[in-house]
């Protein structure tokens, strides 16, 4: 239960095409993350799966059944929204139980289901409060609880962590990963944050401009990007793109991850000037401006001191370089 298939989904608002033909299969129990810059259509795609928007063309299949015309409530899915979207007039318990009540489930069963979800998320003491009396993190847990209570075939998350502060974001991220293990449910998660995508996903779908750029496990995308967009999007700090011609390499651009760029004061393959240094304790990021290649990032482990405007030499580790043609496609 819970396999999703999208067949050539397109969506246009008036003359603008937002989704331009997406084919995708999400296996039962898989944690699939849609990632991409804002405006890439990832949220629209999620809303089409939920049934909140109609696809202009194409088929949505849930467990092999076409659900295009099915109302959202009948699709047996649950959604967690960025803004939590709790019902302000209901208590936490009623918020979580509303969907079951609407589906005609008995009161005792609803209570048991809400209690079970509350226990999973340690919401017990908050059950009789209203959303206005909760903190942001608590609200998001209630929203997740509301989704769990329904025991849906498919969980949809629409940027659920972007309204939380950094510490809470990490904690909730771990909690979502734990829930996925415990519930072994199919989950689709939309984010623009590649760290969330890397840490949570079984499989990442990278979207740009309404088109799927690449699908794969996090490490597949990291180690084997199909084009410059995926290469630049996955991994933080961003991959450096150097001019192949100047390095005597094939293709148009050569991609080097910041940790594979060596910095030295004495010698190297090309020269640059330090433009900024970020010390993070465990690692140091040195930004170097090179005449030929532009601004490059070097990632060093441990503490290092470089001063701004200092002349340095850089040498890329060519064994770990990626080569791309003029259209940005990977040369293998």
């Amino acid at each position: 239960m819970g396999a999703l298939e999208l067949k050539n989904i397109t969506k246009s608002f008036g003359a603008t095409d937002v989704i331009k033909g997406v084919d995708l299969t999400v296996k039962d129990g898989e944690f699939c993350v849609f990632v991409g810059p804002s405006g890439c259509g990832k949220s629209t795609l999620l809303r089409i799966i939920a049934g909140l928007e109609d696809a202009s063309a194409g088929d949505i299949l849930l467990d092999g059944k076409r659900v295009n015309e099915l109302a959202p409530a009948k699709r047996e899915l649950a959604m967690v929204f960025q803004s939590y979207a709790l019902y302000p007039h209901l208590t936490v318990r009623d918020n979580m139980g509303l969907a079951l009540k609407q589906a005609g489930v008995s009161k005792a069963e609803t209570r048991a289901a809400t209690d079970r979800a509350a226990e999973m998320l340690s919401l017990g003491p908050l059950m009789e409060r209203r959303p206005a009396e909760l903190s942001g993190g608590q609200r998001q847990r209630v929203a997740i609880g509301r989704a769990i209570v329904r025991r849906p075939k498919l969980f949809l998350f629409d940027e659920p962590l972007s309204n939380l502060d950094a510490a809470l974001r990490v904690a909730t991220r771990i909690e979502i990963a734990r829930l996925h293990r415990e519930l072994s449910a199919t989950m689709i998660y939309v984010t623009h944050d590649q760290v969330e995508a890397m840490t949570l996903a079984d499989r990442i779908v990278v979207l740009r401009g309404g088109v799927v750029e690449q699908v794969g496990a996090p490490m597949e995308l990291y180690n084997d990007p199909a084009n410059t967009f995926v290469a630049g999007f996955i991994g933080s700090p961003q991959m450096n793109f150097l001019k192949s011609g100047a390095l005597g390499q094939r293709g148009e651009t050569t991609g080097i991850r910041p940790e594979h760029l060596e910095i030295s004061r004495e010698s190297g393959s090309f020269e640059g000037r330090v433009s900024h240094v970020e010390k993070l304790g465990g690692e140091t990021l040195v930004y170097v401006r090179s005449e030929i290649h532009g601004l490059l990032t070097v990632r060093l482990f441990g503490e290092h001191s470089y001063s701004v405007d200092e002349a340095v030499w850089l040498s890329p580790d060519m064994g770990r370089a990626f080569h791309f043609d003029s259209a940005g496609l990977r040369l293998r």
């Binding site: 409530a73 019902y87 007039h89 609407q102």
Partner: protein
């Protein structure tokens, strides 16, 4: 503006507000004090307060004796409350449809409905009267309720649709996923969130209806359907005007509208400050 104002500015601001309040309340005040004075005293010194020598409740006595006056009150209340109900219900529903659903001609429909704000309904009096005669609604309260609902709807739709656009889409979508019908979403999720706007619309709709003389005079002048404002006119004659009774009737007419205003005003203040203090 800084949170702490200098003393001088505070005093100046209060002086301006007090002056405005006095000017606004002065006519009401004069009507109320004179309604408690004898006819002679009204004309001798209109601004004097009712004293033991000049106190006279003859106006109220006359109004009460004129047994129909309770009927007039009742008519006014029925017309105002029923129109208010129609305006709020249908206005909110139309506003929800305009702000929530994408359909062909949405913008055009919104503009068409807003047109009523710019064109006074009284321009159509003759046509309205002809319509009411044709449908046999002359001299019924229904005629007034229909006209006032039409009169109130454009502004209601305009204000409410702006407010409804601010209600979070996620909330409505969460309701849809949980299996709430569009009606439940409208009544139990959206309406409570735009309550301050509803109160604002209620006050702006209610007062002109309660005070209107024009349509009751034209559409429902019969004894059994007279409203308070029209009823008070019986005391104004071509040659003799019973000022005591007119002033008493007007004073009494203030009371119900004041009560309704007080009910809505707490919500209204929240409505006005909604954007400012979130």
């Amino acid at each position: 503006m800084s949170a702490r104002m200098s003393k001088g500015r505070t005093i100046a601001a209060h002086a301006v507000l007090l002056t405005y309040t006095l000017i606004a309340l002065f006519p009401v005040f004069v009507i109320v004090i004179n309604s408690f004075k004898s006819r002679k005293a009204i004309f001798a010194d209109p601004l004097a307060l009712p004293m033991p020598g000049t106190f006279d409740a003859v106006g109220y006595a006359t109004v009460m004796k004129q047994g129909d006056f309770f009927l007039y009150f009742q008519n006014s209340l029925i017309v105002t409350c029923a129109s208010l109900f129609c305006v709020l219900l249908f206005g909110a529903m139309a506003a929800f449809a305009l702000s929530e659903y994408r359909f062909r001609g949405n913008t055009l429909m919104g503009l068409y409905l807003a047109l009523g704000i710019m064109i006074p309904i009284r321009l159509g009096t003759v046509a309205i009267l002809e319509m009411m005669v044709a449908s046999g609604l002359v001299n019924t309260l229904t005629a007034l309720i229909l006209v006032y609902s039409a009169q109130g709807l454009p502004l209601a739709i305009f204000i409410l649709s702006e407010f409804m656009k601010t209600v979070s889409d996620d909330l409505k979508n969460a309701g849809r996923i949980d299996g709430l019908s569009e009606y439940r979403i409208f009544f139990s999720l959206v309406l409570p969130l735009v309550r301050p706007a509803m109160a604002t619309v209620a006050v702006f709709t209610m007062i002109p209806i309660w005070n209107d003389l024009w349509f009751p005079l034209i559409l429902a002048p019969a004894e059994s359907t007279k409203t308070v404002t029209l009823g008070a006119q019986v005391f104004i004659g071509q040659f003799v005007t019973n000022w005591n009774a007119v002033l008493a009737a007007l004073s009494l007419a203030i009371v119900p509208v004041l009560v309704l205003y007080l009910i809505f005003s707490r919500q209204l203040i929240r409505g006005i400050t909604a954007g400012a203090v979130k």
